[in-house]
Subunit: 166 residues, 2 copies
């Protein structure tokens, strides 16, 4: 199905009932028995692994949690470019995104209470090709950066509750 | 290597030179040619796929970007529980984390400019087992929630620059 068809179908469904826009996602994570840092992840019918490199106590069987966070941003940028190019009627021939993040381990380890645990800064580099006027791709970028769900997650606070089962 | 050994080794390295705490992560993402939403992700020597379900124009070969964002949070919680249990000398026999996120598609599609593109709310449920006093696991939870890098990313704004190659 073309993305234009998906966009129009979604618009009709949400016009019919705005509550159709509310979606919920759920993911489960379990430490592999006997491991320090290897995590089995399940999302619907999909499964993958998260681990840490040896310098962080792991066996490096997969990328680590903060790398997955950057990957969620980079892949969300790719998909949002695709949808918004379709919405703007702008041809996009290829797209490649690199995401870099800086983090200071003093935070995670609690060696400094003034260093945040998360990224201090993140850089997104987008390389795309297409035949239209470069100014139109700049307009595309503005729309993408306003509507990319994971960029919103990175840039703005999200309410999170944490609960420990008794 | 035990996590206690990793923590002590890291402490010594960071005491020797605080700049040793500064780490950088980098991830690349490329749209699979001919696909609408399938993204090849590369992280160091690791590779995985991100896709969308058919309702969002994809072929559902993998979890989608916002599900990976939740997975980065859930797996980071698991790893942070492991490290801080080691740091506090608290035995942890098993841990399982479920993360749920609510999102309204009006934001991503630009059908409403007052709806944020990202999650409106996220819930983390932690189930763990261990022989110590429950109050000690509540103290562990407090430390984890202060030091988990991806929880910090979700709860607080992170500076992100985006750049479109000319």
């Amino acid at each position: 199905m073309s993305l234009t068809t998906v966009i129009e179908g979604t618009r009709q469904a949400l016009d019919a009932d705005p509550r159709n826009g509310a979606v919920q996602f759920s993911v489960t994570h379990e430490l592999v028995a006997g491991s320090n840092t290897t995590v089995d992840v399940r999302v619907r019918e999909h499964a993958f692994t998260v681990d840490e490199p040896p310098t962080l106590g792991g066996t490096d069987t997969a990328a680590n949690p903060v790398e997955y966070a950057l990957a969620s941003l980079g892949s969300c940028q790719v998909v949002t470019y695709q949808f918004w190019a379709a919405k703007l009627g702008l041809p996009l021939e290829s797209i490649r995104v690199t995401v870099e993040g800086d983090l200071d381990l003093h935070g995670f380890f609690g060696f400094s209470e003034t260093t945040r645990a998360g990224f201090s800064g993140v850089r997104v580099h987008v390389d795309l090709t297409g035949p239209a006027d470069p100014a139109r791709y700049e307009e595309l970028k503005r729309q993408v950066d306003e509507h990319c769900p994971v960029l919103d997650l990175f840039r703005n606070p999200t309410p999170v509750t944490t609960n420990l089962a008794p």
